[in-house]
């Protein structure tokens, strides 16, 4: 029971951290709080549905391709022309992109929700320390954990990571030193796309269905996690997302069943509280990127 809860809480924490990083990365580099992040996840989820009869790994690869394509397309068409606009304008624009992508999905391929039968191996349970832990939860934990480690390595140890962090902090200065701003921004969207795709893989196996509206919830999770963690650093954002995930799992385990429906109200009230008391985020240091 306890082991079961721990694996599921850690899994949810890792998933939320993943979603949060995708949002925080674009915010850090561009000042873009991307509402359309949910639709990037939707694109990946659609790929999983479309290739549901193909081998699982192929479907996952296509999910990455779809998500990255949509992420890059939104950058080209909407966010590139708005480079340098203030964050609120960017947020409104991403709202529009989100609605546009959702409409396209509803018009063409997903007029209604579609089931995606879960892979057989994910529905099984294994014995760990005497507890029956579901493979699905284990896969969530391992997959998200691996991706988080990969992102940490990419951001911390590679030249691209250094350039991304530099561009996030002072775009003009970075460009004057030879950082190729456009390429760095594009790669930030690519990374966000990959993160979204992995998030979609986990979400689809958990929900067993895809729909045009499915991006909303994960996008909101990303935004809340990023705000909680302080939007100035990826590490803070990941931690914010992780705590949000563990907290949600715990709330679900502890809240009386008639209050679970109000979980979001609790979460968002807490979010407003955090914004007021610590606008720089619960976990961040002193510096905050204001408006």
């Amino acid at each position: 029971m306890i082991v079961d809860y721990i694996v599921s809480a850690l899994g949810l924490g890792a998933l939320y951290a993943l979603l949060t990083i995708g949002v925080a990365l674009l915010f850090g580099v561009l000042g873009l709080m991307n509402f359309a992040y949910g639709e990037i996840i939707l694109a990946a989820a659609f790929a999983l549905y479309f290739f549901r009869d193909a081998p699982w790994l192929f479907a996952v690869a296509m999910a990455v391709v779809f998500a990255v394509a949509v992420a890059l397309l939104s950058e080209r068409l909407a966010f590139h022309p708005l480079r340098g606009a203030d964050p609120v304008t960017l947020m409104i624009a991403s709202f529009a992109v989100s609605l546009a992508l959702q409409s396209v999905a509803r018009m063409t391929v997903l007029p209604r929700a579609q089931g995606v039968p879960p892979q057989d191996f994910l529905a099984q349970r294994v014995d760990i320390l005497g507890a029956r832990v579901s493979v699905r939860d284990l896969v969530t934990l391992v997959l998200c954990g691996l991706v988080l480690v990969a992102v940490a390595y990419l951001m911390g140890r590679t030249s691209l990571g250094v350039q991304l962090r530099a561009a996030a902090e002072n775009f003009q200065m970075a460009e004057s030193l030879g950082v190729k701003g456009n390429r760095v921004i594009a790669s930030a969207f690519v990374i966000a796309g990959v993160l979204a795709a992995v998030g979609a893989v986990v979400l689809v196996t958990r929900q067993g269905a895809v729909s045009a509206q499915m991006g909303l919830q994960p996008m909101l999770i990303g935004v809340i996690g990023a705000v909680l963690g302080g939007m100035s650093s990826l590490r803070g954002a990941a931690l914010g997302g992780f705590i949000l995930g563990v907290g949600t799992a715990t709330l679900e385990a502890l809240l009386p069943s008639d209050l679970i429906a109000f979980r979001d109200a609790f979460l968002f009230t807490a979010l407003i509280g955090v914004l007021v008391v610590r606008p720089q985020g619960l976990l961040s240091g002193s510096k905050v990127r204001v408006s």
């Binding site: 609120v88 609605l99 546009a100 705000v227 009230t269 407003i272 408006s291």
Partner: protein
């Protein structure tokens, strides 16, 4: 004629004239046109409220639809006939049981709807007073999320995802016009007030306003509560026009529609908001008909086309005219130069 009108009364008069034009078009057109006109006038009430906050403070709100929702639910409780209410709400919790028996006139319902929204405004004002920019945008969105979550989950009181039904239709075309004119007058009165003036000064330069002793937070809170009242009233008008509604009417797609209105018109200007509401209401109707196939020879296009085109319009405006049609100007005021925030060259 303009010469005879004192300058400070010109803007509300012109905006009222626009509202009246919408009403007249509705009156001479068929029932469909009339429906569009009433909804446009309700939208004008809403954007007058939204713009009372965002045009003066310079802060965009994503949460005002929450106030509209409260107004609509309040009006429903006040006007649904008691016998129907008895069957709709069998499980009202004890403290709210009185709602089963209350009954009020249309005008009272609209005012009380506004007041209930204003109470939520008052409760959230301390947070709004302290935040700016993106933080503020996220906080306003969070308010919408909380209200939406409560309305859709508190089944015993709000019927959850089931619709509210049986509201007597009371928002006639002329009643809507009356409220629209009143809302414009209230919004303009605040715009011209001392508080409104000081708040706009803070929009131009926050710190120098604070330094010169302006209580920016207090003015922001005032504008916020007042705008909550107007948007709540708009919600009540909406409920009393459509007679039945669902909680999903007060979520992101409604928010998006209103954002398109104020951004298209110029979110720093009341005139822009009112013009935007009128223009976008018509645009939405045209797009809806386009989607239904009226212009393509009867073959309906897939659902979502209208939303897609609307999103395209918004993106185009944001990229080409980030301050909308009006910028920070108001109709009828000639001499003041647009005090639009110029983009400062980057300090680095």
């Amino acid at each position: 004629m303009m010469v005879l009108v004192p300058e400070r009364a010109r803007t509300p008069l012109i905006l009222s004239a626009i509202a009246a034009l919408v009403a007249v078009l509705g009156a001479v057109g068929g029932p469909t046109v009339q429906r569009v006109a009433v909804l446009a006038l309700v939208s004008i009430v809403f954007v007058a409220g939204l713009s009372t906050f965002s045009a003066n403070s310079g802060i965009m709100s994503f949460g005002h639809v929450a106030f509209m929702a409260l107004g609509a639910y309040t009006a429903a409780f006040l006007t649904i006939p008691a016998p129907l209410k008895a069957t709709l709400f069998t499980q009202l919790p004890e403290p709210l049981a009185f709602l089963r028996d209350v009954q009020s006139s249309f005008v009272v319902a609209v005012v009380v709807g506004g007041l209930v929204a204003a109470v939520l405004g008052l409760a959230t004002a301390p947070a709004i007073a302290r935040l700016t920019g993106l933080q503020s945008g996220i906080a306003t969105l969070a308010i919408l999320m909380v209200v939406y979550n409560v309305l859709s989950s508190w089944t015993s009181v709000t019927r959850g995802s089931s619709s509210m039904i049986g509201i007597p239709q009371a928002t006639t075309l002329w009643a809507a016009l009356g409220f629209a004119v009143a809302a414009i007058a209230v919004a303009w009165a605040y715009h011209s007030s001392r508080s409104g003036l000081q708040l706009r000064a803070s929009r131009e330069d926050y710190w120098s306003s604070v330094a010169s002793g302006v209580a920016v937070g207090r003015h922001r809170a005032t504008a916020w509560v007042l705008s909550a009242f107007l948007c709540g009233a708009a919600g009540a008008l909406y409920a009393c026009f459509v007679t039945s509604f669902n909680v999903s009417a007060f979520f992101l797609s409604a928010t998006f529609g209103f954002i398109v209105m104020v951004v298209l018109g110029g979110y720093l200007s009341l005139s822009g908001a009112v013009l935007g509401a009128a223009v976008v209401s018509v645009l939405q109707e045209v797009l809806r008909r386009f989607q239904d196939g009226q212009f393509t020879g009867g073959s309906a296009l897939p659902a979502g086309v209208a939303d897609l085109l609307l999103a395209g319009v918004l993106l185009f405006v944001l990229i080409k005219f980030p301050l909308g049609l009006m910028g920070a100007r108001e109709l009828g005021l000639r001499r003041r130069r647009a005090s639009v925030k110029q983009k400062e060259p980057v300090e680095a």
